[in-house]
């Protein structure tokens, strides 16, 4: 299986990246000016890659579908970014971050990549501070940290609940500097619709100008896909409305293997859905689990009274509450990893203890933290014997300073005041660990086509830990790609500009034209959203938080059916040569309708439970871990990389065996 050579460097894990950097080819500064690189996406991975590559001297063309690179969905990341700085002197180290990430990913990530991620994490914080990113600080002027799920240290750097925004604006500012110098040509409101391959190498893309509808050919010596994740295959997710799989899927159909599509993160703390009209779900940062305690009532009669509006959650005494995470996982409590917390919420709600009208909500309660912080604050302020009211007031101030924007967001959406009454939350689709298969250099199985950030599969295994997505996006873009891409481009210094008149460009452009024409001329009777919602329902019901062979088999057939109906009956108004958001959506949903099937196929083949992928057939049946997910290392200790062969059902499985030399494989326990 030569195509799946991960190209992991030799040597001890702690030296691999350094040795690799010392050995790989470099391109001299004068030659970099002769080389063009396309970056698709302007989020943390794409933005940081575009800026870094331009600083190094390459000619960068960057594409985003939003009206400005600053709006990529990384902007919405809330809680923080991990780094093994050990500023808190709590025993953190590169190894511990590496270990936590591999364990958190349920031993389905690639050791060498994860170690590198942990290794460069500290540099990210240095780099961002140098750019003027205003991280939270303590009174002494030094950086503050907090904790995230699945770890026992405080290594998360943050900027209130807007860490993603601040980091992205940092990357955007670095991009702005290069755009101003002409080293990055920015294509806002453009969408990549095809990858162009010449002589087996990625040499360009076909993009559509979303304002004029013009179909354009863009050539380059290498193409970086940093187009994010595909959570919107579920229709409802915490992703932005425009987040899509199209760039990655186009590459997949041109030969890039798609790895572990079924690994999806269902985030435990989102605002529950309220009606059928709902267009998206809103995340409440995991950082809230630092201070919020999750519970449902112990007694069914209290659940019923709350649903009927006869009781309020604040009426229930401590004894009447079931803090089920603290009960089941005493060591990690409310800070268990996301997959564990989500399943535990589902378990309680399935058992009938959900606290809202739909039965799909649990409480996230800050009252203990408010009192604790209030007492601390009163002591610091020298207030003796403050009243409960005063303690509450002070405590609410502390909570506001930490999470103010999140509480405001919650209140605006639900019309409930979370300082006074517990938040209601429920799991929702948030992040996709799967993505384009890449080797150690972040190259896909198409030479010259790279994938970075959420678009690749590489670092998070079957479950991503909180505050690790920002770390990975920036690590890929600032510190990994700029090195590894040079190794490949060193062979291209004499190639010269790639002509867009090559037949491969002409053909790719025609494919795009034909595809869009077909959508516009279909003149069916149902809107794009109609199909997207149906797809989303099948995905959530049968390929969601708990999966089984029967449901997955049905899902595969149903998705295929919806796809066929889509092509028969979709209606796309307007024309191709104008600003046409419905046409954009149609193209994206068409790709989701194929990905969804591969997703379910991957979930069906992986007959084990690991991380976010929970198969009801694979559960611990006895012992201390009874009822917990059961991984199967004998049969499934590999990356599943799918090769496109026509229909999603024809996709061929390739396996990359995962080798664990530095971490002992064992059952993940957070008890």
């Amino acid at each position: 299986m030569s195509q799946l050579d991960a190209k992991i460097p030799e040597g001890p894990i702690k030296d691999k990246w350094t040795n690799h950097k010392n050995k790989i080819n470099l391109v001299n500064p004068a030659n970099k000016r002769l080389i063009d690189v396309i970056v698709v996406g302007s989020g943390l991975a794409g933005g940081s890659a575009a800026a870094s590559l331009a600083e190094m001297g390459y000619n960068v063309k960057c594409f985003c579908f939003q009206d400005s690179p600053r709006r990529a969905h990384s902007i919405a990341a809330q809680g923080g970014i991990n780094a093994a700085k050990n500023y808190q002197n709590d025993g953190d180290s590169t190894y511990r971050l590496f270990y936590d990430t591999v364990k958190g990913g349920d031993y389905r990530g690639r050791e060498a990549n994860v170690y590198r991620l942990a290794e460069v994490s500290a540099n990210i914080i240095d780099q961002c501070v140098a750019q003027g990113v205003p991280f939270a600080r303590e009174y002494g002027g030094l950086l503050d940290n907090r904790s995230f799920g699945g770890v026992l240290v405080s290594r998360t750097f943050y900027a209130k609940g807007q860490t993603g925004q601040q980091l992205l604006l940092g990357a955007y500012s670095a991009m702005s500097r290069q755009i101003g110098k002409g080293k990055i040509q920015m294509f806002n409101r453009h969408e990549m619709l095809e990858l162009v391959i010449v002589d087996g190498k990625a040499r360009g893309i076909i993009a559509r100008n979303l304002i004029t509808g013009e179909i354009q050919r863009h050539s380059a010596h290498a193409v970086v896909l940093a187009s994010g994740g595909y959570g919107n295959v579920f229709f409802l997710s915490t992703n932005a409305m425009g987040s899509n799989v199209t760039a990655a899927w186009r590459a997949h159909k041109k030969g890039a293997f798609f790895a572990n599509p079924c690994y999806t993160q269902i985030h435990p703390t989102c605002i529950p859905r309220s009606g059928d009209y709902q267009s998206k779900l809103t995340l409440m940062s995991e950082s809230l689990r630092n201070d919020g305690r999750i519970w449902v009532p112990k007694k069914m009669e209290d659940v019923e009274a709350i649903r009927a509006g006869k009781k309020k959650p604040t009426d229930l005494s401590e004894e009447e509450r079931d803090y089920y995470l603290e009960r089941r996982y005493p060591a990690f409590g409310n800070l268990v990893p996301r997959d564990v917390a989500s399943r535990a919420a589902k378990e309680r709600c399935d058992a009938g203890f959900g606290v809202n009208a739909t039965g799909e909500a649990v409480y996230l309660d800050f009252s203990s933290a408010i009192m604790r912080y209030g007492k601390e604050k009163a002591t610091v302020m020298g207030e003796k014997n403050p009243s409960d009211q005063r303690v509450k007031e002070l405590g609410e101030g502390v909570i506001e300073a930490k999470y103010g924007n999140l509480f405001q967001m919650y209140q605006k959406i639900t019309d409930d005041n979370p300082y006074k009454t517990p938040m209601m939350i429920y799991p929702a689709v948030h992040y996709t660990m799967g993505g384009l298969w890449v080797d150690y250099n972040l190259m896909t199985t198409i030479p010259g086509c790279y994938a970075a950030g959420e678009a690749n599969f590489s670092d998070h295994g079957a479950n991503r830990l909180g505050a690790s997505a920002l770390m990975q996006g920036l690590a890929d873009g600032y510190f990994v790609l700029p090195y590894t891409i040079g190794d490949y481009l060193a062979d291209d210094i004499r190639t010269g500009p790639i002509s867009t008149d090559l037949p491969e460009f002409v053909e790719a452009e025609k494919t795009v034209q034909d595809r869009l024409n077909a959508l516009i001329n279909n003149k069916g009777t149902k809107s794009v959203d109609h199909f997207h919602k149906r797809l989303g329902k099948v995905m959530w019901d049968k390929v969601g938080m708990a999966r089984n062979a029967q449901g997955l088999t049905e899902a595969i057939a149903e998705i295929k059916q919806i796809r066929e109906e889509f092509y028969k009956d979709v209606f796309v108004p307007g024309s191709m040569d104008s600003f046409n958001p419905e046409l954009e959506k149609a193209g994206r949903v068409a790709d989701f309708l194929e990905l969804g099937e591969l997703f379910a196929k991957d979930a069906l083949h992986r007959n084990e439970s690991c991380g976010g992928h929970y198969r009801e057939e694979s559960v611990e049946e006895s012992g201390e871990q009874k009822g917990e997910a059961k991984r199967d290392d004998v049969n499934f200790k590999y990356v599943a990389a799918w090769e496109h062969k026509g229909e999603p059902s024809d996709a061929v499985l390739h396996k990359e065996d995962l080798v664990f030399e530095n971490i002992e494989l064992k059952q993940r326990s957070y008890k």
């Binding site: 205003p134 939270a136 500097r177 755009i179 267009s279 600003f579």
Partner: protein, 255 residues
């Protein structure tokens, strides 16, 4: 709440492209839940229009949680509508009453030409940022340790508050002069407050203000409407700080 939904009349600006004249067009939506966001109400309208084979209303939106800065509607004469501290996507229908007539227009400013319907071109903001909205530091990973330079918490917090600007353009849309001073001053302030940004503070403020003027934004007459309508509560103090920085730089800069 299971009560009956609202029936509303919408008067919406329709304009097929930058070169065509636009006009207000009336639409009706029925049974709108108070729990819907404003944009979900727009989704309902567009679904109706598509089902009749008509052209849906184009509007910008993406994250739908108030942080990307993409959504931009001028509702009943207010940028982002009647609520405070929210973007259009965070505005909820509970702010309206059954039978209401709602006026929906795009941002209006010479520097923000209409692309279609409610979608405007805000790339002028990007060009201002390209002129100086950054610290000139390359990606190396070899900058000094992040804690080598302590920053007083008060400065860091104030820089953060300025940095929360989402670049939506509500400040421009609501300003009678279509001034971009709140937007520009937020970035100038963030970087002027931090030691990392101080080094090139003078060039930055001069270059950004210069670009702002070139783009055709108006001047500031300290009405303060921008601060009221800003979804992120960016303070007018930033404009005062920028004026100070600008004056200092004009007198002492090398160029």
């Amino acid at each position: 709440m299971a009560g009956k939904g609202m029936n509303l009349t919408l008067k919406i600006w329709r304009q097929s492209d930058a070169n065509s004249p636009g006009k207000m067009v009336d639409y009706k939506v029925t049974d709108i839940s108070e729990h819907m966001s404003f944009l979900e109400m727009m989704d309902v309208l567009n679904e109706q229009l598509v089902s009749k084979g008509e052209d849906p209303v184009a509007f910008d939106h993406d994250c739908r949680e108030g942080i990307c800065g993409m959504c931009s509607m001028y509702i009943n004469g207010e940028a982002h509508g009647p609520d405070r501290g929210v973007t259009t996507c965070q505005l909820h229908m509970r702010m309206f009453n059954d039978g209401d007539t709602i006026y929906i227009e795009p941002w209006r400013a010479a520097a923000f030409p209409v692309i279609k319907d409610l979608v405007v071109d805000r790339t002028a903001f990007d060009r201002i940022m390209n002129a100086g909205g950054f610290v000139s530091v390359n990606t190396s990973g070899n900058t000094q340790d992040a804690n080598a330079l302590p920053i007083p918490k008060a400065d860091a917090d104030e820089a953060f508050d300025a940095a929360t600007c989402i670049g939506c353009g509500a400040c421009v849309a609501t300003c009678k002069n279509a001034s971009a001073m709140l937007f520009v001053s937020a970035k100038v302030s963030q970087l002027a407050l931090l030691p990392q940004g101080k080094v090139e503070a003078k060039e930055r403020v001069l270059n950004m203000v210069d670009q702002m003027d070139k783009e055709g934004f108006g001047n500031c007459t300290v009405t303060g409407a921008c601060e009221v309508e800003c979804p992120k509560g960016i303070s007018l103090t930033n404009i005062a700080r920028m004026n100070q920085e600008f004056l200092k730089a004009s007198i002492t800069a090398d160029k």
